[in-house]
């Protein structure tokens, strides 16, 4: 089976690097979630509980 049929086959080194990149992306995404949560609190401030029903 040649490379075309198998698709792209990653070497062990490439797999290792992909894993570290994936972890970095996960950390960045988690930090963004936290950031948007924090900014929501900051922007709403004390009014967070003051919503008309």
């Amino acid at each position: 089976m040649d490379n075309n049929e198998q698709g792209i086959v990653l070497t062990d080194e490439q797999k290792k690097k992909r894993r570290s990149r994936s972890i970095a992306i996960a950390i960045v995404l988690a930090a963004l979630v936290l950031l948007f949560y924090l900014v929501t609190i900051v922007k709403l401030g004390p009014d967070i509980m003051n919503r008309p029903l």
Partner: protein, 311 residues
């Protein structure tokens, strides 16, 4: 023709995929962390000097977005300039010429961060600052990197504007607009950039010649470059003192920036006088190093005063 353009002309079906080699640190290197640190510093000073206040969390978000936007411009610059980078000694080890990241990966990374940083700044801080950041990134990548860098010896002068915008973006994050005071911060960096880079270009002339980049010493000659370094330095010195005359810096800043400006002009005059051999090289290197100290000191003094005034 840049590497990016050459790749566009290639038949994609016959190209072999050689991506996936980049580590996290290679991607960090694409962001030009040293340039980024200067951008963070100047944007922070712009933010601190601006009238009014910003919530510390929103201020941190603004600095983060400006820093990521600057990093994204760096990545897009490396995507387009990979052909130049591979022939210059200073840049040959960058991730793309070193074969660790493909130009396509760098482009995708740069575009993702550009759009992400602009949208985040717009959504969380204000849309004027977001639009200004988008303009800054576009200016650096399209006007400077793609258009001017390869076509005119004035590339540094106009391209330097992109590096001078961050304090204005920082200021805009607080006020939602621009003002004469923030424009002066822009002018300081704008006038500082040509003598800073031309001093470097004078002793790295061979590199730019090999790469075919029309830097001033290559195109107009070393004498002309020495004239221009002196002229820009003479123009820069009074602009450096302007924050004092405009009333948003103290007399201490006025006197300090005046002396620093005089030292800058004296070193530029030294370059103008010493034209041959090792002494000429040393004079260029001295101004190059001092120019970094000069800019840092001006902004550090402004920052220090705004912090003291805030207590």
């Amino acid at each position: 023709m840049s590497l990016a353009e050459r790749q566009d002309l290639m038949d994609h079906s016959s190209t072999v995929w050689n991506g996936g080699e980049g580590s996290v640190s290679d991607y960090v290197a694409l962001l030009k962390p040293r340039v980024m640190s200067l951008v963070i510093f100047t944007a922070f000073v712009g933010m601190m000097l601006a009238p009014g206040s910003i919530h510390p969390v929103l201020g941190t978000v603004a600095i983060l977005c400006i820093a990521i936007g600057a990093g994204a411009s760096g990545a897009l610059n490396m995507w387009y300039d990979a052909d130049i980078d591979e022939v210059m000694s200073r840049t040959a080890k960058r991730p793309i010429p070193a074969g660790k990241i493909t130009p396509e990966e760098a482009f995708a990374f740069g575009m993702t961060l550009s759009i992400g940083s602009v949208l985040t700044l717009g959504l969380l801080v204000n849309w004027f600052a977001g639009a200004f950041l988008a303009f800054t990134i576009a200016f650096y990548v399209v006007i400077y990197t793609i258009w001017l860098k390869r076509s005119t010896p004035q590339n540094i002068v106009i391209g330097g504007a992109a590096g001078a915008f961050p304090p204005m973006v920082g200021w805009a994050s607080v006020t939602g607009g621009v003002s004469l005071e923030s424009f002066v911060l822009f002018l300081i960096i704008f006038m500082w950039t040509p003598p800073h880079f031309w001093a470097l270009a004078l002793f790295k002339k061979g590199d730019y010649e090999t790469a075919g980049v029309p830097m001033l010493p290559v195109v107009a000659g070393e004498t002309n470059t020495r004239h221009q370094i002196l002229i820009y330095s003479i123009l820069l010195a009074p602009i450096g003192v302007a924050p004092y005359f405009m009333g948003y810096a103290s007399l201490f800043y006025g006197v300090s920036s005046g002396f620093l400006g005089l030292a800058f002009v004296a070193m530029a005059a030294d370059i103008w006088r010493k034209r041959e051999g090792d002494v000429a090289r040393k004079a260029c290197l001295r101004l190059f190093k001092f120019s970094i100290f000069y800019l840092f000191m001006l902004f550090a003094l402004l920052l220090g005063e705004s912090l003291v005034a805030g207590i």
